[in-house]
Subunit: 277 residues, 2 copies
């Protein structure tokens, strides 16, 4: 049972044939099924995620690292507490989040939260913009068991023919460009965009434009931090975990869990969150 738990949890979202477990463990199919039932109960009881069985010849069993609404709220509160630590507001009014983003265990939790909130969109790939989006996006891709694609700023790409688009950075109001190798995204792919911060939304808009060139679809946008200003973002639908109220506020007022997390109330689920601001 431990071996099955390890295999399933080490490879989130990957389908494992029951016969493989039987062969590896030298156990009968009925024993495997019985242990799986027990495993499913334990995993759900302790809020560790969900074990799903897919019937049929191509079926099997997989582990989804879904987090409960309570776990998501607790993580966001924990992040807000860390972001209220002294010295986090940098010159230019930026919020210092790098140390949190690059702490693997935190990045992994955040990735599992995004994978939970975007569970219904079933992306074929996660897309991010270098550099600070990478840890969160990689861990989200890990939870979905899909590849990560990283757009580069400017034209610094050595992986063969590439596509560039221009975009207006919402913070600097400057025209910039992002580039992706042609081979990075297959036509028709369903892509989830994950980034560290959303200010004006210019980067996200650039991602929509870029994906259009690949005939790919952006099925969701998730960010760790959204800024309160400008209130008028260049895109309507995205999901942020934390709202940054700007360099002026101190202490409690500096950051808070994003509106939809508060609106969703204390007891209910967070379903449908993806389609709300």
């Amino acid at each position: 049972m431990v071996v099955m738990a390890e295999r399933l949890m080490a490879e989130p979202n990957r389908l494992h044939a029951l016969a493989d477990f039987g062969a590896r463990l030298g156990a009968a199919k009925s024993t495997i099924s019985e242990d799986l039932g027990l495993l499913r109960a334990v995993v759900e009881r302790f809020g560790l995620g969900r074990i799903e069985t897919v019937p049929g010849a191509a079926g099997g069993v997989r582990y989804r690292p879904v987090r409960t609404s309570a776990q998501i709220r607790a993580l966001v509160e924990r992040l807000c507490a860390r972001l209220r630590e002294p010295g986090r507001v940098l010159p230019g009014g930026f919020l210092h989040t790098t140390d949190l983003i690059f702490t693997p265990s935190l990045a992994e939790e955040i990735g599992e939260v995004f994978a939970t909130l975007f569970e219904d969109v079933q992306p074929d790939a996660v897309l991010t913009m270098e550099v600070k989006g990478i840890p969160l996006a990689l861990m989200t891709a890990r939870a979905f068991d899909v590849p990560l694609v990283t757009a580069r700023r400017g034209g610094r790409v050595t992986e063969g023919p590439a596509v560039s688009v221009n975009y207006v950075s919402g913070s600097s109001r400057m025209v910039q460009s992002m580039t992706l190798p042609l081979r990075a995204v297959p036509r028709g792919a369903r892509v989830l965009f994950i980034d560290d911060v959303l200010r004006g939304g210019g980067t996200a808009r650039g991602v929509y434009d870029l994906m259009r060139e690949f005939a790919a679809e952006v099925v969701g946008v998730g960010v760790l931090v959204e800024t309160e200003h400008p209130a008028d973002k260049m895109l309507d639908r995205y999901l942020a975990l934390v709202t940054y109220h700007g360099g002026g506020a101190a202490g409690e007022g500096l950051v808070s869990p994003s509106r939809w997390l508060v609106d969703a109330g204390g007891g209910g689920g967070l379903g449908g969150a993806v389609h709300r601001r």
Copy 2:
């Protein structure tokens, strides 16, 4: 037992107090100890890593995702097979590795291999250079349960006061600079440098120089791919998994497991690999 396995394996290298497990599971200490003994046996039997117990008041139990020599060799062979796929040699003679590096499950395996090979050096942090080093370095940091620090090319750093050093890129022979915020690395830290590729070794030398400014120590250098040329690298000690023989060779001759993996023979361990080229 499943809950303990999940907690331990989800947080590699982190020490868990036995009392916490007892409290969470509502089980007596003797039951927990018994289950841990069984868990240790299962984990080792199936080559899943190692469960270690640390005695004393500040002690507890932790999981180390160490890979066996056979598992490391098998992964490197699998990587070589992927790297021999057609179309991997890019204009300029670069080897296209991005898709592999950004596949989370592969990055995680490679990170656990680095954590195994550098197990003895016990780093306080993993350091990498943006961009392609990040997934491998993040997964190595995950296996060690330490933070990742990412040096930026040029001076594009917004996290407050920063230190820059110049280095000579071994491939382009151009003088470049790398920058790290002052707060990113504490004085006296033991730092493991992980990157995607090592050509001339200029970047790694730059990292040594940079760490000297932080009064920090580079305790190891690990890369996924080393290039055969130039044979004369700017540093003596590093560990590469795969050797790239250059754009001229085709098929089998394009890449191979690095020398020390071959020299270590089929049966023996890979101990001491860190101190060899």
